[in-house]
């Protein structure tokens, strides 16, 4: 028995109505991402990569075309089913960290498990394990305002992996970080991928994309190129 691909998009279109003008943010995208892949989705602003991220993350639904997430067809799912899918199958990491303010690191990481109705004791144990994985065991009871950007993003990564999702979806995860913190966060993603997790990054920085194993380029809502990152290019692209 083979596992279904984590992401399977077939002819996905997403159209926004802006007044009288219909904007085609995605114009027939087909893409398959298998389990264990480490993919960067690249593109300039306006290329449709944010829409792509919203569709892949089940925050938005395609206007046309079909999308299977981990074998589940998300078409025709109602709102509560979508939120359940987001909770169980996807771990989000955002550019602006998006931690819940005035809430400790530990509580932030526990939150997805709380929504999944995991018992408190197990919640605590899994959150601690996730925070240990990102190397943040000393800041458990700090609130976001008391942490640096790098630390906040590591908490966000811990929150993304705590539910053991099929997919880790990161939207410009290093966009608000200095280069050292960026490097740290990328190393964590690499580590997670090595451990077998599927990671999809959305970025416009080629340096960041170079950490991945496959780069999908978007332009005007279409896939421009989709190629593996060669070892040579990886060595040349990566700084230091």
């Amino acid at each position: 028995m083979t596992n279904p691909p984590v992401i399977a998009l077939r002819n996905v279109e997403r159209t926004y109505q802006m007044g009288d003008v219909a904007v085609r943010a995605l114009d027939g995208v087909s893409l398959v991402i298998e389990r264990g892949e480490f993919v960067a989705i690249m593109g300039a602003s306006g290329s449709g990569k944010s829409t792509m991220m919203n569709v892949i993350g089940c925050l938005d639904v395609p206007t046309r075309g079909r999308y299977w997430l981990d074998g589940v067809d998300v078409r025709n799912l109602d709102e509560s089913a979508l939120s359940r899918i987001r909770n169980r199958k996807i771990g989000f990491v955002f550019q602006s960290f998006n931690l819940i303010p005035r809430t400790t690191a530990l509580a932030n990481v526990e939150l997805p498990l709380t929504y999944a109705r995991v018992p408190a004791r197990e919640r605590r144990a899994r959150a601690l394990a996730a925070l240990e994985l990102v190397g943040l065991t000393e800041r458990l009871h700090h609130v976001p305002a008391e942490m640096s950007g790098g630390q906040q993003q590591r908490v966000a990564v811990a929150r993304a992996i705590v539910t053991n999702p099929a997919l880790i979806l990161a939207d410009e995860p290093t966009g608000n970080l200095d280069s050292r913190s960026s490097e740290e966060v990328m190393l964590i993603f690499e580590e997670l991928n090595r451990a077998g997790r599927t990671v999809v990054l959305i970025t416009h920085e080629s340096e960041i994309a170079a950490h991945t194993k496959r780069i999908v380029r978007l332009r005007d809502g279409l896939i421009l190129s989709d190629e593996p990152v060669s070892r040579v290019a990886q060595a040349a692209g990566a700084p230091s």
């Binding site: 939120s83 955002f94 998006n98 819940i100 005035r102 939150l111 929504y115």
Partner: protein, 409 residues
């Protein structure tokens, strides 16, 4: 979602904007406090009226000769009414069971003010009430020590007195037994035979600053011979017979004075009726005030709704994050609903505390008595207000689309 987490989260949310939360809470706080105090005040004043009615004796009618108060005759041009009198003969007619079957007792009253002296102590303006023994029962006076005046004291013109609590404390040293001592009212000497129990000053006039003596003796030494009583205390056999008793007394007085009942210059004061009228007036006021207080609860609720809408807008992004990581609608709804209910509950609890503390103070001479119903009721209403006015903002938060909410800056 764990309710404890929700509560903690709500508390964090509220304490992030302390001043704003406090101001929002104020509306509910004032509403609840006002409801409790107003209802307590209404309850207290109706209780006070009830006590007064009880103190007066519910079965009694006081028949007052209006002429004595200088209010003139009942009918203009009727000279006869002016000289109408209440005589001992009328009193014995009323005591006749055939003529007045509904009257239990009739106590004539001759009252005057005098200065009381005992050894070196004195007390001016003591109300000297000359009457018969039935007066004490009709007017609900209790004899605390010694004995009452007796019927034979009345026939024998005995110089005996039963004194009130004020007189006791003004004339005698603490602990001194006044029974058997001689006290002067004006220049006449009386032997104290009994002491009245404290009656309070609830009926307006101080009913403790009195001395009760036989009316015959009062005629002899205090008022002078008049053959005309100041007033009559008519006690009916039953509370429901009060009106019948009043009619019988009126008929006897009218025929004795050879006039019609309508022409009698006497006013029959049925105090119980008077007081219940005033009680119902005050209860109308209480209802009105309670409505106003309840309106302020409503206004407080609108304040909560307003601030919750602001909160939801401010925290749109947070809602987006929560939805992105899988919060179901119900979790968001509960979160904001709990926050709204917590706001109104804080106001409610503070209002209950202030209300209960506030009812310890007298307002306009009335001691408010808080009712458990008003406290529990006001408290429950705050929960309802919180849920009601919190629901719309919370459902607005819950129905935000995650994409839009996340994009919100």
């Amino acid at each position: 979602m764990n309710i404890l987490d929700d509560l903690r989260g709500a508390l964090r949310g509220l304490s992030a904007n302390k001043l704003r939360s406090a101001l929002t809470v104020l509306g509910i706080f004032i509403g609840v406090g006002a409801v409790i105090i107003v209802v307590g005040y209404g309850n207290g004043s109706s209780q006070a009226v009830q006590n007064r009615i009880k103190a007066l004796g519910t079965n009694t009618i006081t028949i007052v000769n209006r002429g004595r108060f200088g209010r003139g005759p009942a009918t203009a041009g009727s000279t006869q009414t002016q000289s109408a009198t209440i005589t001992p003969q009328d009193v014995s007619s009323m005591q006749d069971q055939n003529q007045a079957p509904d009257i239990l007792s009739v106590s004539p009253v001759l009252s005057s003010s005098a200065t009381a002296t005992y050894s070196s102590a004195s007390d001016s303006s003591v109300t000297i009430t000359g009457t018969t023994p039935t007066y004490l029962q009709a007017e609900d006076f209790q004899v605390e020590a010694g004995s009452s005046i007796t019927a034979s004291d009345v026939t024998n013109h005995a110089q005996v007195a039963v004194i009130g609590q004020d007189l006791l404390s003004d004339l005698y040293a603490t602990g001194q037994n006044p029974i058997g001592s001689n006290v002067f009212f004006g220049s006449a000497r009386f032997r104290v035979v009994g002491v009245l129990a404290d009656k309070g000053s609830s009926a307006g006039a101080d009913e403790n600053n009195v001395a009760i003596i036989p009316y015959t003796t009062a005629e002899d030494y205090i008022t002078g011979y008049t053959n005309n009583f100041t007033e009559l205390i008519v006690e009916a056999k039953n509370a429901k017979d009060v009106n019948a008793a009043e009619n019988e007394a009126d008929d006897i007085l009218a025929s004795a004075n050879q006039t019609s009942v309508a022409n009698l210059p006497f006013t029959a004061i049925n105090e119980a009726t008077l007081l219940s009228t005033s009680a119902s007036t005050s209860s109308t006021f209480t209802v009105l005030l309670t409505v106003i207080a309840a309106v302020s609860l409503l206004v407080g609720g609108i304040g909560i709704m307003n601030i919750m809408l602001v909160t939801v807008t401010e925290r749109t992004r947070e809602i987006g994050i929560r939805k992105a990581i899988g919060a179901p609608r119900s979790a968001i709804l509960t979160q904001f609903l709990i926050e709204a209910v917590m706001l109104s509950l804080i106001g409610g609890v503070a209002g209950v505390i202030v209300g209960v503390v506030g009812t310890n103070f007298k307002i306009d001479g009335v001691k408010p008595i808080p009712t458990p119903e008003s406290i529990i009721g006001a408290f429950l209403v705050t929960v309802v207000v919180g849920v009601f006015f919190g629901f719309y903002p919370a459902s607005r938060a819950a129905s935000l689309r995650p994409v839009d909410a996340l994009r919100y800056e």
